[in-house]
Amino acid sequence: MLLSPPFNSRTLPNRPLRLFAGAAIATAIATLVVAVLYAIFTTAAGAAAQSSRVDVLHLVGMTSIQAGLTTVLSLLVGTAIAWALNRLRFPGRDLIVGLFASAIVTPGLIVAFGLLAVWGRSGWINQTALALTGHSFEVPIFGLGGILAAHVILDGAFAARILLARLDAIPERRLKTGQSLALSPWTRFRVIDWPMLASSLPGLAAIIFLLAFTSFPIVLLLGGGPANQTLEVAIYAAVRLDFDLQGAVTLALVQIGICSSIILAAAAFAPVSASTGASAPPRWRDHGLTRALQWAVLAFGIVGFAMPLVAILIDGIGPGIADVMSRASFWRALGTSLAIGTGSALLTLTLALGVGLGRAATRAPLLRISIGAPAYAYLAVPAVVLSLGAFLLVRNAGLLPETAAPVVVLCANALLSLPFALATLAPPLDAIAEKRGRLIRSLGLTGWQQFRAVEWPLIGRDIGVVLALSFCFSLGDLGVIALFGTEDFATLPLLMYRALGAYRSNDAAAIAALMLVLTITAFVLLPKLVGKLTDA
């Protein structure tokens, strides 16, 4: 049933250009992935094959369990928090929403250190317990538990942000009807909220699973030893330690295969979104126990999610911050980060709109999947393979790596943000196509008029979220830049990592805090700003 929604395809306006643009972007991304793998493969062809020392089945099994648990927990927690935040209004709500959204784009390492500052051996909880009771209260934060906790902080908060946007977009009319029928809190969730959430969950689940499946620094930092590993680590080792490129490509293909099946499953099972609308939510509060539960969920969310981030701010904002900010290198890195962030935010939005609009312009399941699935490529291709392949492609094209570096970093960051952008934009775009397709057709609007008059005003807030997401992702990304680095081309995360590598953990903490402030600001301001623009 989900595969073929019950509606008449004739209600959709005929938009060949949109289809073409979406298909072109999808083809370009797929071609890039193939080219990257092919470049490595041809380079590796001369080398003798090495015996693989990786127990692939074991690794895949371990990683799948970890990623599966991460996905289920993140979605549960994310749904609960989105539900609570949608119902509650309080001073500072925007800031809390911004803080939650910031988790996913904050470099994983920073979040992991924030987590330890709260739950670790000399963290707040343990220190308080020691001071109060004289006994230490050590949480087993290293091992599977720690990996899950860090992943859920990153991904659960992201899920909450996306799902909250869906709930906030429930049309006013529907809420008023529900309120007049005096629906119980559970019926309200089931009848009004769930249809909005359901369309976003498969895409979110796929993203979270892939993020957890390919996670690297967090897994090593909190994993407690080689028992907890991912394929991504093995691929990195194959390239770095063994220089076994054939082995690396083989392992990468295994990872891409598994990830693709997840992506395809998500694409196949995603129901078309319920309607969307720009709503000023009416005051329909739940009461009594439900409200208490909402406050409890929020409190839990703040303790669990915001505390590690607050710890980062407290750790970083000290006397050292003035020293960091007095450095020319800081301002250069900030400038580079802002430029890359802005560029990749615009590029991401363009790509996401192209793919999202193209996908929404057809009801043929296969076509929809072929347009949508390649957007997730970045999550499936191991980072080290991607940067290695990009490096080889640039070289084979006869370009100097440092000349190509900004473009490659920009493209890589856009590809990194694209799945998240699509998870944000695709459900509302689908909803518009379904609910208003007939109207648009009967009015005889052109594609541009459709976008300007119908879609743009309705997805303004989501566009803001997409811009903030991709801007901050590029701000925090460390991945591709490593292989292309020259000393003149540094971003804030690279600067932070350099400080950490030069014993300067206070400087690193200060840079981490500044990045977090920047991220939260972007997340609070950008959706509002774009929301205002589209309302006008």
């Binding site: 670790g120 290293f142 028992a227 990195y236 950490l500």
Partner: protein
């Protein structure tokens, strides 16, 4: 939309374009690891020092670590623009030599404090892998791997993954050199004490400074940083009776270099007192020549019991040692 993209691209390129190099001077391209060339590392000072006399320009190209530089050169082959690769160490120079990409340096290093006869690589600093601890928190540190293993399981150390980190690999070699066939047994014993195995040195050291563990695998020179840069004398390295394994950082010239003479001059410069004085307080390693009082007292004397690692044995067995260590920790 298109103009937006172009604008964005232009903005990025303008913001990141490297300053134009003076056209008439030859350029020496040096591949090194990121920390070396960063503002806190020795790179900028060494560049300035060498450029004063060479009538040339040094251009650093960085990767996240030294081994990535080697991989990059291997990928680029003879078409690489690199003249010098700087930052490989004694655990990886054998592999680099085997690629056949490096040329003999033709230098006769004099006054080195290390015995040295490598025809392709010259040393520019060195250190010993060691466990660093906080004297205030751990008054009686273990003095051998066996003592460490005998401590209660609550005594935690942070180490690095040998597949992704130089000290992590050095740790494997250290235990191997000290215990030979008994190495897996030592690793088994270490397992309950290993809080976690991080991707790189930075994360591990960060965890230690945050108070998450009692000791961290680092260098004998690490305490000198805290003493000199932070005026903190509470950090020390645990004196292990087995002896230590050295990490000697080296530099070599590529056969494909179009500036072999400049490369040779730069390698020679690296071993001069002028350059060696820069190294200790920027790269936090020992100098390879005796620089007398210029070496801050906080560095102390390097440990005297050094365990040798044979390049051929390492090449033949390194991978198996890493696998055995990882298997024991599983």
């Amino acid at each position: 939309m298109r103009s937006f993209k172009l604008f964005a691209l232009a903005a990025v390129i303008c913001a990141t374009a490297s300053p134009a190099l003076a056209e008439d001077k030859p350029v020496l391209d040096v591949y090194t690891y990121d920390g070396f060339a960063s503002e806190w590392g020795p790179g900028p000072l060494l560049k300035a020092g060498f450029e004063k006399t060479c009538n040339c320009t040094i251009a650093f190209t960085t990767s996240e670590d030294a081994i990535s530089n080697l991989r990059k050169v291997q990928l680029e082959g003879t078409a690489t623009k690199a003249d010098v690769v700087l930052g490989l160490d004694t655990a990886t120079s054998g592999e680099a030599r085997a690629t056949g990409l490096f040329a003999p340096h033709g230098l006769t290093p004099e006054g080195l404090v290390l015995p040295w006869s490598d025809p392709e690589f010259i040393p520019f600093d060195y250190g010993y892998f060691a466990y660093v601890y906080d004297k205030a928190k751990t008054p009686n540190p273990p003095t051998s791997f066996e003592e460490l293993i005998a401590l209660p399981d609550s005594f935690k150390v942070v180490i690095q993954d040998p597949r992704s980190s130089t000290p992590g690999l050095g740790h494997v070699l250290w235990i191997q050199a000290a215990y030979g066939d008994r190495a897996p047994e030592i690793w088994k014993g270490l397992k309950p004490h290993v809080l976690t195995m991080t991707r790189g040195w930075s994360e591990a050291y960060g965890l230690f400074l945050d108070g998450q563990a009692d000791m961290v695998l680092s260098y004998t020179t690490s305490p000198a940083y805290h003493a000199i840069a932070e005026q903190k004398d509470n950090y020390a390295y645990a004196p292990f009776s087995e002896g230590y394994v050295a990490q000697v950082e080296v530099a070599g010239i590529l056969k494909s270099s179009d500036q072999p003479d400049l490369g040779k001059a730069f390698l020679a410069y690296l071993m001069t007192p002028e350059a060696q004085k820069i190294i200790p307080t920027t790269n936090w390693m020992y100098p390879v020549i005796d620089i007398g009082d210029e070496l801050p007292a906080a560095f102390g004397t390097p440990p005297d019991k050094v365990l040798p690692i044979d390049e051929a044995t390492l090449a033949a067995n390194g991978r198996a040692w890493v696998d055995a260590a990882l298997a024991a920790l599983q």
